[in-house]
Symmetry: C2
Subunit: 409 residues, 2 copies
Amino acid sequence: MKPFLTLQSVDGILEYINDFPALAAESVPLDAAAGRRIAEAWRAPADLPGFDRSTVDGYAVRARDVFGAQEGSPALLECVGECPMGGVPDFSLAEGQTARILTGGMLPEGADCVVMVEYSRQAGGGLVELIRTQAPGDNVLMHDEDAAQGEELIPAGRLLRSQETGLLAAFGEREVRVHRAARVAIISTGDELVPLEGTPAPGQVRDVNSHSLAALCRGVGADVRMVGLVRDDPARLRAEVEDALGSADVVVVSGGSSAGMRDHTVDVFTSVEGGTLLAHGAAISPGKPFILARAGDRCLMGLPGHVTSALICARVFLLPLLHRLQGRKEEEIAPAVPAVLSRAVASAQGRRDFIRVRLTKGPEGYVAEPVMGLSGLISGLVAADALVLCPENREGLYAGERVLAELLD
Amino acid sequence: MKPFLTLQSVDGILEYINDFPALAAESVPLDAAAGRRIAEAWRAPADLPGFDRSTVDGYAVRARDVFGAQEGSPALLECVGECPMGGVPDFSLAEGQTARILTGGMLPEGADCVVMVEYSRQAGGGLVELIRTQAPGDNVLMHDEDAAQGEELIPAGRLLRSQETGLLAAFGEREVRVHRAARVAIISTGDELVPLEGTPAPGQVRDVNSHSLAALCRGVGADVRMVGLVRDDPARLRAEVEDALGSADVVVVSGGSSAGMRDHTVDVFTSVEGGTLLAHGAAISPGKPFILARAGDRCLMGLPGHVTSALICARVFLLPLLHRLQGRKEEEIAPAVPAVLSRAVASAQGRRDFIRVRLTKGPEGYVAEPVMGLSGLISGLVAADALVLCPENREGLYAGERVLAELLD
């Protein structure tokens, strides 16, 4: 009789995953930091922009000198000069005076707003007519309006996007402290497998999981080592896992994760030094024969051999682990578009189902059409745009039900 | 008087962008192909898996031999052997016979389904009791069930994800033909700017756009060359743009894109060899002073100097251009989440507004809270999680309105 797995809930397994500590910080050049997570909270070291800047081309004025100005009753002001770009005006404005200024220029002392050039007319003799009333601050970026010194603008663990890169550039941060990339070793097991460059004999198939899992991990910036194929032999698998643990933060083994006649992974994981089993069996479909173990701060993960199960299980557990190791602190927003399910899908209570769907644009938003197929099929996942979850407390989803479809990027 | 821009619609400008041809194809190793777009439609060169495989551990049988089998009335079959992993069984099943088989094993001739080991009992004398009725095909992956020879599984221009990588691995595709990465040269203009490593004097600020735009382009796989700062001098800008055109597919100039006193970009773009202006002015906010030109198949793009305008304008026009050059053929699903707008936002008819929002999780999904701030502020975009569009035919969005928030990744 085959032993039964003790299935743990997805949320329970994710709690174990959140117990892993973040990897060490390292300094990287600013232009290589996007896509990494900042290791410490970042505060503005000074005011930005640091001086009052015009946001338009026009005339710097005191608001009270153009109060009530309009087409039929312009304010007549003396133009005393032009504000230099990238420099400090060497004059200040007295009552009734104005100065030309360009977008980005520094306001002269005495000015508190800018009238756009569209609302000006040359009046001759160094005089200008302005035909627009303004409030103080109009068309001006104040010295601390973008950032005030000491303000926390990037919390620890935040993914650096293009805009964070820009903010850090504004302050001259040439290097950024980020968490280092997770090192992941990927092993495939299965006596029926041949490597990519091999030719399968009848009864054999090529190793798919090494390549799909490597692509998934690299997509979140991990540093992947593809160990390759290991035979269904506990001693050899153990040697490879121990070797991989020497340099990897995460060792992923696909295949042999169930409790069947040739499923050695769980025994191997518990036999390595410090190896502690956290979960064997997850209450999800596809992906039930999942293994999570740790050896110190390093993680051992066993994924099913079925190609679709392996990839979905990796999305559900391996990606959150990599984000966690690479510094993620808070839950982040998964891209999920609203859609209407095209037909009913049965599930089972107590299990979280991940339904592969194709999204098509209908007149009232997206329609999610389930892509059928066994978990051993990779083509079903290729045809899918997104996953729809059927939660543990539901026995299925109805046709026409409004769902959130999590994009498979 | 400052000349007015002739604003073109976002969709009109995107049509010009879709006129640019895709870049040439190149071969890359499979494990480097994820994130690139396949250059030609890909068809399965053979059936996959190529033979009938068991999807469980159990007993291979003919369905008719276990018809009606159950706990109280088992089918008694003669076990004639074990199917080897990765090989061809050297026996076939006659009536009343069965064979042990493991997950992934090849079915022996004569078998048409598999009974899971959980439903078996050893009966002694080489006999096995099976207590489950099955239909032909149960627990079997048929020889062409994942892919049938000749079937188009990846259309031309499709982004290769982890699952496409896996599918190509299954067929031994060691190299993949993908479109080459777009080469982008990025130039910042503005006499008030100093480079990252400089110290701004009063009236000066650091160049932000070079760094934020480079990060954005690299995020979609483009090959970026940061040219750096060029003074507000048409002759120098023209020399730099011409030099960049020698090696780049796209030259991006930020700053000087309006029609003001120091806005030289549009004149420079039309003065280079073959330079043809397509648009000067886009009906969007922020980002109105936008320039699109082409010189042969190369694209010249002028973005506003304001840091937030530049980045949003780049998302709206530069990213679609890069996707197009890198092979995108069809519209794709933008990562977005549904949200409820926390308060009303005014816009203007005839213009597409991109409202920066922070997303917070409420009891009924996400709430989108507009982040206020001028388009010259980078911190507002740092505080934002997503953009909400207010379309051209609306004068604003209501508080409580259901919107799609496009994630700023």
